[in-house]
Amino acid sequence: MTGLVATLGSGAMTNPILDLVNSKCIFIIGSNFAENHPIAARWVLDAKEHGAKIIVADPRYTPTAWIADIFLQLKPGTDIALLNCMLHTIIKENLYDKVFVQKRTSGFDQIKALAAKYDADTVEKITGVPSGLLQEAARLYAKAQSAAIVYCMGITQHTYGHGNVVSCANLALICGNIGQPGTGVLPLRGQDNVQGACDMGGLPTVLPGYASVTDETSRRRIAAMWGKEDLPAEPGLTVVEMMNAAGEGKVKAMYIMGENPMVSDPNTEHVRQALDKLDFLVVQDIFLTETAELADVVLPGACWAEKEGTVTATSRSVQWRAKAVATPGEAKADLDIICRIAKKLGFEFNYQNANEVLREINRVVPSYAGITPERVKQVGGLTWPCPTTDHPGTPILHIDTFATIERLGQLIPVEHRTPFEMTDAEYPLLLTTGRVVMHYNAGSMTRRSTSLLKRSPALFVEVNPADAKKLGISVDEKVKISTKRGETTAKTTITNSIPPGVVFMPFHFSGTNALVVDALDEKAKIPEFKVAACRIDKSK
């Protein structure tokens, strides 16, 4: 998010997913949407049928890569070099959009100087991708009448995730691929309503509507709406920082809703110690998760079909979700639980239903002002910014200006960096992590479905046949995977879809995140889930 705010002025997807059908070239980097956002595949496949060329960059040959016309199998963590190389080819061959660069961006000279260093031969050595393919991809992207970039956690979950995102934006900006149908930069969000949570200020630095907590004017404006004079001006902590603070005894109590950090956070052993150290832990969830088992109090919440309200999709589209079934047993809608707790704490949370919450959002968040309960239920989906009740919504951002202070797209040079941890003699393999189609996030829900478990029952590790031969391991063999932080066991899947020297594990099961590094990106504060050095040994 921080990367797109710095370059385009807004951290959200610039174009909706279904606008991909209008694209003539779709460049997918660090996203395996065929497994993780299968619905996105529909529009990419439609675009392909309409003649679009598809470029996929990924260390693994995923089902998403099956769709590709050009597949760039880069080494994990070398995205910036690859993207800079595309800039290099595009600038050198004069394929960039000069009018757009001149009128709508600033910083081109620095980008030109940066790109000069990343010729295809140099970058082939860094990324492992043949120089010819790198150039071909660059030409395809730059020459297409409209081209879109799709990325996901393969770009963001690095210690230089911010830089990776900036590099994606640089590429879109110099080619003028912003603000038109079929163009844009499309970060696919990891979960439903993450976009909504961010919009509502579910981040440590902002209040609802991305009003900065350090900006007194907007802080006081929102405080006034809540009947207060002012609100705390200090930014809070991010997820991993909270866990660290808990471990240091600085955070005494935690209230965790719908999240299972014992599986989803990096360095599980550290998370356990941190949560153990808390004086008081409340977990609100629909199941007794690994995290809920550690709680002093567990509050049974509601699943999506048991509550009502809006959700904001990855493409900024706000939709109403009606309640379909009653909550079982003692479970309650989350809004109900939050209101009751707030009242006990002495706050006036007098919301009768989700309609009333949305009405408050209409008042507090300017880009949601026109998304009233009446409208959103009637039209089925409205895309913010939607400032008035007669506004149709804004599916495509940055059409005339950018949301940056200067109103220009900011080209920011970013140099290639090596990941936090690299292989050595003791840990000779690169571990990358991700998701599989059968499971969702920490698996709190999907590991309870017999249909899904039957198809993906337990933790596995993907190994290239060459590495398997070297290690003397065979298919479905139980092996021990270790990193500097811990070890776990998993069954092997031997496959050519992963290159030699790299192994892959899904994070839906306990074990994987005991291995990954908890080093953070200094700006985005996201952990480097995508690269760690590991070793594999035969299990005794």
Binding site: E49, G51, P63, I67, V437, T450
Partner: protein, 167 residues
């Protein structure tokens, strides 16, 4: 009038939503299985509900019939579990139920068809790799698509692309 399930193999992304949907409709058992080939193609396999069904032709007890609206169904009370139908099926999609000792197969979600709903596998396919329609309607769509591809210079892809696994 009978419709067919059309598989667009260029669109299948191996998400297996069809299997899960089938399982939900049929008491936890899926008659759809998506096979993966060469680590780069996936093929959803279920009963093709053939117009000239070899399974019906060989069934000695008359347990198999083709209904007017398309589905080839099995009357389990008539089935003697001889497996001849499975032996002649070119797709290997008939199953012997070990418990009841009779054959079982995809019923094209006849209960859903009767409610004017799509077969579960088709309605759950996020990539629209599966379609359920009149044969001619589907072929017309394929023709339209091919014509557009010719004009746009996108080139044509054969329905099944079996290329060697990548090195």
């Amino acid at each position: 009038m009978s419709k067919v399930i059309f598989m667009d193999l260029n669109r299948c992304i191996y998400c297996r939503s069809c299997e899960i949907a089938c399982e939900r409709e049929h008491n936890g058992h899926s008659f759809m299985s998506v096979l993966i080939l060469d680590e780069r193609h996936s093929v959803p396999m279920n009963c093709r509900h053939c117009k000239n069904s070899p399974c019906i032709a060989v069934c000695p007890s008359g347990a198999l019939t083709k209904l007017e609206n398309g589905p080839v169904i099995i009357e389990t009370m008539k089935c003697i579990g001889c497996s001849l139908c499975a032996m002649v099926c070119p797709f290997g999609v008939l199953e012997l139920d070990n418990l009841s000792k009779v054959m079982r197969k995809c019923d094209l979600c006849i209960h859903r068809l009767n409610e004017n709903k799509l077969p579960a596998c088709v309605s759950s396919c996020p990539a629209r790799a599966l379609a359920y329609d009149e044969f001619d309607v589907i072929m017309q769509k394929v023709k339209n698509r091919a014509a557009k591809a010719v004009i746009s210079g996108a080139g044509l892809e054969p329905g099944i692309v079996v290329s060697p696994p990548q090195s």
